[in-house]
Point group: C2
Chain length 344, copies 2
Amino acid sequence: MKNTVTSVDVARLAQVSQSAVSRCYTSGASVSDETRARVVSAAKKLGYRPNAIARSLITKKSRIIGVVMSQLDNQFYPLVLEKLSQRLRKDGYHVLLFINDRDESDGVLAEILQYQVDGIVMASTVLSSALARDCADAGSPVVLFNRMSRQSANELHPASAVTSDNEAGARMVARHLVAGGHQRIAYLAGLEASSTNLDRERGFREELALLGTRIHSRAVGNYSFEGAQRAARDLFVKKQDRPDAVFVGSDHMAIAAMDVLRTELGLKVPEDVSVVGFDNVPQAAWGAYQLTTVEQPVDLMIEATATLLREQIDRTATPHAITVPCRLVVRASTRPVTSPARTP
Amino acid sequence: MKNTVTSVDVARLAQVSQSAVSRCYTSGASVSDETRARVVSAAKKLGYRPNAIARSLITKKSRIIGVVMSQLDNQFYPLVLEKLSQRLRKDGYHVLLFINDRDESDGVLAEILQYQVDGIVMASTVLSSALARDCADAGSPVVLFNRMSRQSANELHPASAVTSDNEAGARMVARHLVAGGHQRIAYLAGLEASSTNLDRERGFREELALLGTRIHSRAVGNYSFEGAQRAARDLFVKKQDRPDAVFVGSDHMAIAAMDVLRTELGLKVPEDVSVVGFDNVPQAAWGAYQLTTVEQPVDLMIEATATLLREQIDRTATPHAITVPCRLVVRASTRPVTSPARTP
DNA sequence: TTGAAAGCGATACCAC
DNA sequence: GTGGTATCGCTTTCAA
């Protein structure tokens, strides 16, 4: 922070008032061509850049959005971060990033709010719902990304949220696996308290029931790579009555699970066991695995996030939730529907 | 940005002067216990939080570091981002994130500078060196992460930089592969103009020469997943005189290459071909591949970055470069040194 | 220790 | 269209 050249300096050099300089940098102000020319040239000569901090102070708009995230090792989130940052930039916003590491999460909020952010996007699974509420209480527009909060559902503490239709996605998986002739279908859960996991598991369970079957076995991976490795071992270590398919609560965990299946347990995917993920990570993540997955439409979700933020910032609508559809993309990690297993 | 409760409000409620309130929130100010107690209680009652924007305006310190990054699909960078953000937070700094998408890069600088950041970390490969120079010219402390700039080397336009010893790392790879008995060693290059790639390739080439051999074949992947896939096809598609080892310029590309080798070309790693990467991506990235790689010590690099930033911010040292050692971690993607290939 | 007052660098409203 | 002036919320002398 060394840029010591101010609008006053420019005004002096350009022989105009300081107000005139200011007008040249605020859109929709009336400045004569001549004045503007002199200001611009003076500004260039001095290397002047308007001070966004000072501007924020008076306009009461920082043009900064606080983004709270965790689990950047799950490739879904870097992807979201990248697209979100680009999308917000189009609206003239910048991203102040807060990465929270499980335990600590209260300090984050206080720090965010001090920076007078215009809005907050919470894309962190490990964040307590209370936090979102606190933000809302503090008057800051908040959008929950990929998670709903109980409070918002109850309309007690309104917070906007954007999610994909996790339940419907999970139902598709159930139908796909049953149609593929699978008999012993396991579920590898994410963080049990998270809304995504609750919705996915519920949809999966209910649709299986409709199809006359049920979850064969279940383990918890807590949305972490190591957790999913352990869970996969638990599910598949015993040879008898082994699952012949597993629906994993996230792509990130699905990749971990497949590693274990193939490398440690010598199982073939999908010959021995079909694997389905959820989320939509870039190909660089699943690579040769050709993972069948329920894709969340990231672009739509980002767009919805931008919309919800705008609505709250402009106070043009009250907080609400947007749910976008997701779709099942079948790749080589599951057996085709007309599978040998179907006609044993 | 709605927090309309100011220090004046608190002062009124606490029956003290506004200055007194301010002192309670600046470390090293003298306030009596009684005054502090009244202020704190009033602040809590009103939900007061000091306005960081206003503070920055007067102190001329925003406590914000601009971080410029690209290629978040390369897992090395999310990892860096996470650790960097946490490290800077310990110093009381926050991260304003700029993700630049190849083409556009000039606009970024201007936007960063307007926010009066206290410093800038450039971890983007696609950034022109000129940009770093511009920042330095503007008087902003800049640290180049994982890349050197020609200018800084020439001492013409000083910029701090932290890199690992890419050249030494590449030499280790050369020795490892030759010791493993490999005869036809290929190099899969990253972005050809980048300093990392230049250093890695030079070290590799020179060490091979010392060992009495040379690069058998070479292709360019430009540090992208797709580019590396194509490059791997080019290198290995012809069955005759195929390389029996390949040093890939980054882990991200190495994973892409291994995908192609195993899935498309039916080659076994490391039986048919050994693969070595470079960078240090989390296990979630390479998973079952057990990739041999040159690990850059991320924590050391982050620490160096924080140090270089401090030095420049406090003007306690002139810009300079820090190079940290890296180490070869041998895993299952390369044949052991006492390999059958050695005694055919 | 405390309060009054002077800015920090910009925007916004005002007459002209 | 243009220049003066109050103001944004805070830190910082400076007397008291």
